[in-house]
Each structure stands twice: as C-alpha cells, then as structure tokens.
Symmetry: C3
C-alpha cells in the first residue's frame, strides 16, 4: 500500500497519533523471550545439580554414597548463597559493582528488579536481571560439582564446603569476569561461548589441585605400581546422572546465546541444541567403539564420560560448527577421556569419577577447537585464555587447599576411609537394608 499520493492533508491528524503510538510503545516481546530463555535454560542447568549428584553417587562405593549426596546438595546450596552475596556482582561489575549496599561502598550483594517492573525501567534489549542472575548462578554451581566428584571418598565435608564457598563466591567470579564480565580476555579476543574453559576447565583445575594436595585413596595405587580398581556402586544412577546432565546441557549451551527474541537468535539456539546433542552422541559412540577395540569390551563408565566429554568439548563453540563439525569435535572429546583416564592413574592422581579428563582435558580441547569454525578466534588467544585460567585457578586452588590442610586438615583418617565416610563421618548409611558384598 502506497499512501503518498492519495492521502489528503486532513488525514494527518489521524495517522500521526497511530504512528506515534507505534513509536512510543516499544516491542517488549524480545525481552520476554530472552527472559524466558534464561528461566528455561536456568531450570535445565539447575537440574544438572541432580545429574552430578546421581553420577557421583553411582560412581563411588556404597559406603561413601551418603557423603557424596550431602556434598552435592550442600555445595549447590552454598554456591547459591555465595554467588548472591558476592559472586554475581564481582563477575558482572556492570550490574552492581561499586554500588553501595549493606556491605558499604565496597560492593553490594545482588538485588533484583522491583516487583511489577514497568517496561520503561527494563533493559528491553536484554532480559530481566533476575532471570540472568538465576541462569548464571546455575553455572557456578556446576563448577563446584566438578570438584566434588574428583575428590570423593576421602575428603572431609567441611573443608570441602569451605573451598566451595570461596570458589563460587570469589575465585570463579573473578576469573569469569575476565571473559564474561567484559574483562581483559574478552577484550583480547578469547572465545568461549558457554564455558569449556570458564566453567568446566575451572572446575577441573580446582579438582586437580585438590587431588594432588589430598592424595589418592588408600589402596588405590599399590606399592607394586598396580592400580586397584574401586568400582562404582550403582551404574544405573550414574547413567541417570549422565542423561540428566545431557538434558541440562541444552540449557547450558542454548541459554548462553543470551537472546531469543529474533529470528536469528532463536534459530541460533536451535543450532546449539542440535550441535550439543550431536557432540554428546559422538563422544559416547567414540568411547563405545574405542573401549571395544582397545580393551575388547565396552566400558559403560567410559561411554558415560565420553558423552560428557563430547558435551564439554562443544561448549566453547556450540553455535558455529556444522553438525558434522560437532560430531568430530565431540568424538575427539570421547577419545580424550578413554586415553587420559588411565594416564592420570600413571601419575597417581586419583580422580574418582573421571572429572579431570572430562571437564579439564576435554575443556581444553573444546576451547582450542573453537578456531576451526569460528573465524574470529585465534589459536594464540585461545591458548592464552586456557593458560590464564589454568594458572589462576590451579594456583589459587592449590594455595587454598594447602591452607585448609594446614588449618583443619582436609582428609579423613585412614580407618574412617576404609570403613567408609557414611558411617564414620555422618553416621548414616545410604543403603542400610542391603548387605555389602
């Protein structure tokens, strides 16, 4: 319709208000979609806490299951509080840093928008602060969960929880701000879409430092140099945990698009979902085939970790690759797990659930793999980021673990370890009705 020629001047009085209305009332739909993305992705990532809990409860021996469950619900809860109290504003200084609050002019804890926020007071080109906080909070909890798996079956409860409080309140937010808070790494051009490095490697480095300071489980590495396998007590729960993590990862990677209100954004989220699934699948298949070929038998725990490694591998760049790209990036993640789990044992680093191969090694791989499909990424920048996160997180974690060791001890007694942490530390068995084989 072309109005130019036929419209009489008198009609202007009518048309103009309509045009003005259209101009004055901004389109709030993208804001609602993006906020919804954060809420939906956030509850999916929340559920990863259950995934980690089940994976770890399934991979420890039955005498340590109650402890592992306690750590998992404890760490999530503490992370939720610490990230509110300090972490979020430390990580995203633009959202509140230096604004005075009850802690004085230093910085404030997180505050949400007012109830019934008016459209003109909202950040219409983004999303609700509350939804953003909710989503980001779930990421920091994932980081802490990674640590709990690696250090299972011999670490004391309270030193572990104190470590979690510092990790989630201070360490992760500081290093996270380098990239996602608009800091030096993001300015330099480091690329990590959903956190292969920022989240997963950070968890892996913290776990590695802890595993070194803590030492291996009693009897794991014999004096003869032999590795004594300590079997997970419930592979059904471990598999359930893996599926839950896989589910949650759609939120983890998909939500990291940070927008859903345009054709381009929602289509990108779709790409990310499809790519994320492909990388998980190919990681699992790679481990399935490789354990058959190398060991002559398929190893379920390797397949589970293969799927998770595929997921970690695609997390740094789940958008740009084709489905075929996601396939081979994820598959290499699966291969890495199969080869590095025994390698850690050679160094007598005792990682109970394989968290370091999955989250650190595959996380490094995924961060490097960004350069294959994202033209803006350079290998130099990627390696710089990987090294920066490694030095900072490993260093800070190592110091903190040593301090905790010096002050209160971080390891249970060998008697307690042999009897199991459930009865000795908590006085409560996870499966009291079932006799142990």
């Amino acid at each position: 319709m072309n109005l130019n020629k036929t419209l009489p001047v008198a009609a202007l009085a009518l048309i103009v208000p309509t045009a003005a209305l259209a101009q004055d009332a901004p389109d709030v739909t993208p804001y609602i979609f993006t906020t919804l993305l954060f809420l939906m992705a956030g509850f999916l990532v929340f559920f990863m806490a259950a995934g980690f809990a089940m994976l770890e409860a399934g991979l420890v021996r039955s005498k340590n299951v109650t402890m592992q469950l306690t750590k998992n619900i404890g760490l999530f809860s503490i992370a939720s509080i610490m990230y509110w109290l300090i972490g979020f504003n430390l990580m995203y200084p633009g959202d509140g840093w230096w604004i005075s609050g009850w802690m004085g002019p230093w910085f404030s804890y997180t505050e949400l928008e007012a109830v019934g926020l008016a459209a003109e007071d909202a950040t219409l080109d983004y999303a609700s602060v509350g939804s953003d906080f909710f989503f980001q909070l779930m990421f920091v909890a994932a980081t802490a969960s990674i640590v709990s798996g690696a250090l299972a079956e011999r670490i004391k409860l309270w030193p572990f929880l104190i470590f979690v409080a510092v990790l989630t309140g201070v360490m992760y937010p500081i290093s996270g701000s380098w990239q996602w808070g608009g800091g030096w790494l993001s300015e330099m051009g480091f690329s990590d879409f959903a956190g292969s490095t920022v989240v997963h490697s950070v968890g892996g480095w913290a776990a590695l430092a802890g595993a070194i300071v803590l030492g291996a489980r009693a009897g794991k590495y014999g004096p003869d140099g032999k590795v004594h396998p300590m079997l997970g007590s419930n592979l059904a729960l471990a598999t359930l945990g893996t599926f839950i993590l896989w589910l949650g990862w759609f939120g983890f990677n998909g939500g990291s698009q940070l927008a859903m209100g345009t054709v381009g954004d929602v289509t990108d989220v779709s790409r990310i979902f499809a790519n994320t699934n492909m990388a998980a699948a190919s990681g699992a298949v790679a481990a399935l085939i490789l354990t058959q070929v190398v060991y002559g038998k398929v190893d379920l725990t390797m397949v589970l970790n293969g799927a998770l490694a595929g997921l970690v591998s695609i997390t740094a760049e789940p958008l740009a690759p084709t489905l075929f790209g996601s396939l081979w990036i994820g598959a290499i993640g699966g291969v890495i797990v199969v080869f590095t789990v025994p390698m850690l044992d050679k160094f007598k680093i005792d990682d109970v659930v394989g968290a370091i191969p999955v989250h650190l090694f595959a996380g490094i791989w995924g961060t490097i793999a960004v350069v294959f499909y994202n033209g803006d990424a350079s290998i130099v920048n990627q390696v710089t980021g990987i090294v920066a996160y490694g030095v900072f997180t490993f260093g800070a974690s190592f110091i903190l673990w040593m301090v905790l060791k010096g002050i209160m001890g971080i390891r249970v007694s060998e008697d307690a370890e042999l009897a199991g942490l459930d009865t000795t530390e908590l006085g409560m068995e996870a499966y009291p009705d079932f006799s142990k084989g």
Copy 2:
C-alpha cells in the same frame, strides 16, 4: 479513536482497512505467553510426582518400597481423574460451576476449549482453560503426595486411595475455592501466593489426621519411651527426589504468577525463580549447620527436608521478598524442620518422611512470613486463613479417616507390617535380587 467524522472520504478506502485490522486483531502474544507459562510450569509441577515418589521410596524401608511407589503413581492418577470430574469446577466456580453437564444441572466436569480456538473466543487477558486446568491439576496431586509420605509403611492401599479421591475431588477444591476461587478468604484479604497453606498445609493437616488415626508403626516407640529409628533404604533416591521437587517448585511458584505476557509479569516470574532457589538453598544450609552443631554430625535427611521446608516457607510469598528476605525465610523453615521432627516423636506421631514438619509447620511459618514483605497482608488475616484451613482440613480428614477405619480398616495386620507390605499386600518386592541386611 473515531475516524468517521474527520477523515475525508477519499482516504477511507486506504486507511480504514489498516486501522480496522489493527483494531480488530488484538495482540494475542500475552495470551500465548501466559498459556505457555502454565504448560511449562505444569510439566515442572507434574514432575514433582516423580520427586515425591523417589523421596518416599528412598525414605521407607526396602520391604515397603513397592507399596510406596504404587501409592504414588496411583494417587497421581486418581487425582487427575477426580480433579477433572469434580474438583476443578468446584474450586473455580467461575469456570463452569452450575453449568449443566452430564451430571445434570448441579455442575459439570471440566471441558476444554474447542479445537482450533479462534482468537475472539479466547480469554485473551488470561490463558487457555486447558493450560490452566493442567497447571491447577498438578497442585492437587502435590497435596495428595504429602499425605502418602507421612502414612507410609502401615496403611492399606485402597483406603488410602479412597481418601485421596475425596481429598482431591472434594476437600482440597472446597477449601481451595475460599482463596483461589474468589471465596471468602480472598475477599477478606488472606494472602497465599502459591499455596504454603492452600496446598502444603492442607496436605500436612490431612497427613496429621491420618497419622493420629492410624497410629505409629509397630516398634517405632518402645514401651520404654525410646524412639527406634527406622532408616530409609535408599538415600540416593531420596536426594534425587528432593532435587526433582526443587526443580518442580520453579513451576509451582513461578507459574502462580498466572501471567507472563508483560515486562512486569515475566520479570516477576524471574524474581520468583530466584527467590525460590534462595529459600531452598538457605533451608538446606540451615539444616546442614544446625545438625552439625546440635548433633555433632550432619544429617542428610534433615538437609533434604531443610531444603523442602525452605521451599514450602517461601511459597506463600515468593514474589515480594528480596533475595535476602528469601534467605532468612527459607532458613527459618530449615530450622523448624530440625526442631520439629523430634518433637513429633515426643507426641508419638509417626511421620515416616517428615512430611508434617516440612509441609504443615513450614507452611504455617511461610504463611505468617508474608506479612514481612507484602504490605497488603495482615497477621490477623493470615492467622485466620491458617486456622480456617486447619480446622476444615484436619476435621474433615479426621472424620474421613475414622469412617474408613470403621468401614474397611485402614491398617495392615502387624504380621504384614513386620514382614513388609510389598510381599504381604502386593506380592512383589522392589529389590528382589538383593538380600536384606
């Protein structure tokens, strides 16, 4: 806008259709968003049925697990049918009450909108009736689940299911209509956003009446006044159940905003998600610290119930509080659980999973706590509501339990109880391959 008079005739041909279109085609986006909120929140609350089932299956002894699972899937299914047949229209009379249906002029069962509903036939300022029904249905099922946990390990299957049918078809809808159906409590000014009282306390009162009528499990309270602990058989499942409930609670509280189509509404939903998570976390941390201090050892089942009590506590007002407010409201919920679980034992009220402390006591607390952040709430109104729900639900439940007891008996024989309900009542063990310790 009245175009008739001022618009030159020549322009009418061009402008009117456009203007008419804009006027005739209302913005349907808020309707879609709110309907989507109900669907999403509804499936999250649906999943709480699995959460209750796992929590309860994990907290009963292995000889009663099949029975507990059967009750949980049975009660959800029966609730689904009863709430369709009677409950929904009884609770929300505006939606169908007194409209004639196959049950005559009295009232009709729930009917959904026509397939392919036209925009002009829709309640555009709200949401699809189907989505609303779906969402509300999930709430009534939660109420019934609360009862099943408290009365586990000694109640017969069929009397329990009959109680559930009456609770979900009649009792809950009647009292629910007082508040959410626009009844006298809502007119008076009672405030219960998502149901600390309307849902959780109601479940708790029904459970309390049942626990009193039913009596404690054989051997629970020794003649010496000693309380004999009866340990949950699978704490991994109990923890999984807690995480699933936590997840579902985002839908429970978030969906109760009842709107998502404006900036204000979706931002409020975000507030609710963040507050709900905070209250759960602080409830868990409170129980974690308190059991360490009071008992010298952290008690996982208390931590799980602490998280749930935090959730129940924030349910009456998950919107108005700040995150700090949610923290302390939830933490007090956790404290309540730690102190009231042993208190019930003093009165020899045998609540197998701690449902009464979690849902009733924390529910009362949460309903009172509304006054701290919601200026429209008054303590008098809140207490009036609490008492009204208590008197009605406890009274009606007590009578119904007594009637069931008189007619068919509600308790299995002591032999059956000692042998376990799985073999005696159902002839099917939950874990037949594992010898019992």
Copy 3:
C-alpha cells in the same frame, strides 16, 4: 511526542516509510513460538531416553543392568548420528532430499540454517529447521528404545546396535515418510497425530520380530508349559522411568501440534497436554483396578505399563478427544496391557519389559480410536496404515534380524545368559557392592 501540530505535508515522506516498515516487517513472533515449542518439546522427548533406560534397568535382573544401560545410551547416540546422516532427509525429502552434499548427488546429510539467520531467509510460517530436526530426532530414538526393552537379557550388544543403526537411519525414516513426509498414507487420509503407529507400533513390530528370531530367555518357559517369572531388580527405577516417560510425552504429543504461534495452536497444545495426562492416568487406574480384581493384588509393573499404554493409546489423536474421551481411550489401553502381557507368554514370545503390549497393541488400539473423535479419519484408512506399517516394519526387521543372526549371531551363550550379561559380556556389574539374593 506530539506530532499533530508541527507536521507539515512534507512530513508525509517520513510517515509513509514507517507505515511501509510495519507492512514490510513480517511478524516473526509465531516463528519464534513454534521454534521454541520444538526446542522445549524436544528436550522433553530427549529425556524419555533416560526414562526408557531407567524403566528397562529396573525391569531386568540385576545381572543384566549394566548391559541394559549400555544399550540405552548407545542406541540413543547411534540414532542421533544415523538420523543426521541419512534419516531426516530420507523422511522429510522436502527438506533436503536429492540436494547434493558430500555423499554426491544422491542425497545430503542434514544441514542447519546459517548462523544469525535473517528473517527473510527463514520459513516464517513454520519454525527453524534446526529445532525441527532436533525434535524429530528424539522421536526416532524413542522407537529404538522400545526394541531394547523387549529383547533384554539375552541379545548381544553389537548386533543390537547395528539393528538400531539401520532402524533409525533407514527403516523408520522410510515408513515415517509415508505419513509425515507427505507420502502415500498421508495423501490417502491415514491419521496419526503424534505416532501411535508411526513411532510406537514401529518400535513394537521391530521388537516382535526380534523376540521371535531371538527366542525366549533360558528357563523362562519350562518344558511343563509353565511360565517362570523373572523379576525386575529395581522397581523404584522402573517407576522413575515411567514418570520420566510420562513427562516426556507432553513434549511428544504437544510438540506434534507443530505450531504454537496463534491462539488456536497454543490452545490446542494445552488440550493435548491435558488429554495426554488424562489418558496416562486412566491407563494406570484401569490396570490398578483390573489387577486387583483379576489377580487379587495390585501389580505395580502392570500399573506402570498401564500408564504407558494409556499414553501410547492417546498418541494417535491427543487433540480431538474430550477429556472424557481421553479417559476411556487411555483406560482401554491399560486393559489391553493387563490382558496381552500373559497372552504373549502363551505364544512363548518373551518380552522382558512388556514393550510389545504397550507400544504395539496399545498403538494399534490408539490408531483405531482416532475414528471416534476425528471426523476426517476412516476405519479403512486407519487399518490400511496399521497393516502397511506392520508388514513393512515386521518384514524388514525380521529379515534384518535373520541376516544378523546368520552373519554374527545375535544371542549370547547360555552360560553367559545364566551368569548375566554384565560380567560375561561387559565385565562390569551395575551393583558390585551388593550381594545377590
């Protein structure tokens, strides 16, 4: 902004472009909603993979649990790859068939839209290809899961996985294209909304062929004609799996509306959610009552399968029926399960988890039941579709199973079967800490 007074005639040049813009910029909101529907429904259906895994792990004996878990994560991963490589474009030729790719001019593997897709390049009246692919992929994985349950406890891992690769890459997509790819059955007027036949019966037929070729488990059918029950090892997991499947089914049926951007579509999705829940509930209640009446005791595994049969029954037409219609359609599904599980045993067809009654028999019933509420469906067309899928899938599956049997054998040795597949085939027990009863 008040334009009334100041706007000269010359300003028309300014206003018109705004009007033109409003006309030129199409409404992208429906595209975003429908894409979101696919993503949300897709992750719900994804989670069904965990549901099947838990259901099956719970219903096999503890000595075969690791194998069952391995098959489930393996089949999902392989399905993800095969459906990308061949299946999707084979099933939906309109989306890529005959387009040249790396496999030459024959056909291409699935490719996603470009990153940051512009609105003018999008299929605005539908949804993102990526989201559609993601959603459809989850369906084919469900088909494969059905097979794994029926053939549990005696089939070798690799022949099973090869069968899955062919089923998900070729067989399911070919027959699926008859209906959902715009093929001859859809042109004829066959009606199957979400796949009672296209998905569930197909899985059931493939399972039936496999069960016949494979034979029953050693000792299942005694020489005396007696059926020896082999009890599931973990009914808590089986119940969890059922609840997860029920949850996923909201996505399965709701997403099959294939649109959410209008009042009519989102209201239809609401109808589907409510109907789906009702059919599951009534299927469970039917089995609950019927096993009580027929056997004198409620049978939990029948109740679980009753709920699933209710779900399968409503899947062919979850939109048109009233809630009462969904109730009786689902209830008949539950009845079918209770009567056909023993019937299969009469024919010595050993279906470990009841997959054939649930997915094939209830699937046939659901496909027929379409005619009661959908005026466009005819019984002749429905039966034609049922027979066509049966002949093709049973035939092709039977041949493939025979070929696999001839080439590599599909069954483990009787010694391995008696000792359990976990130790003999995989060398890894699922519950190593627990002595077997």
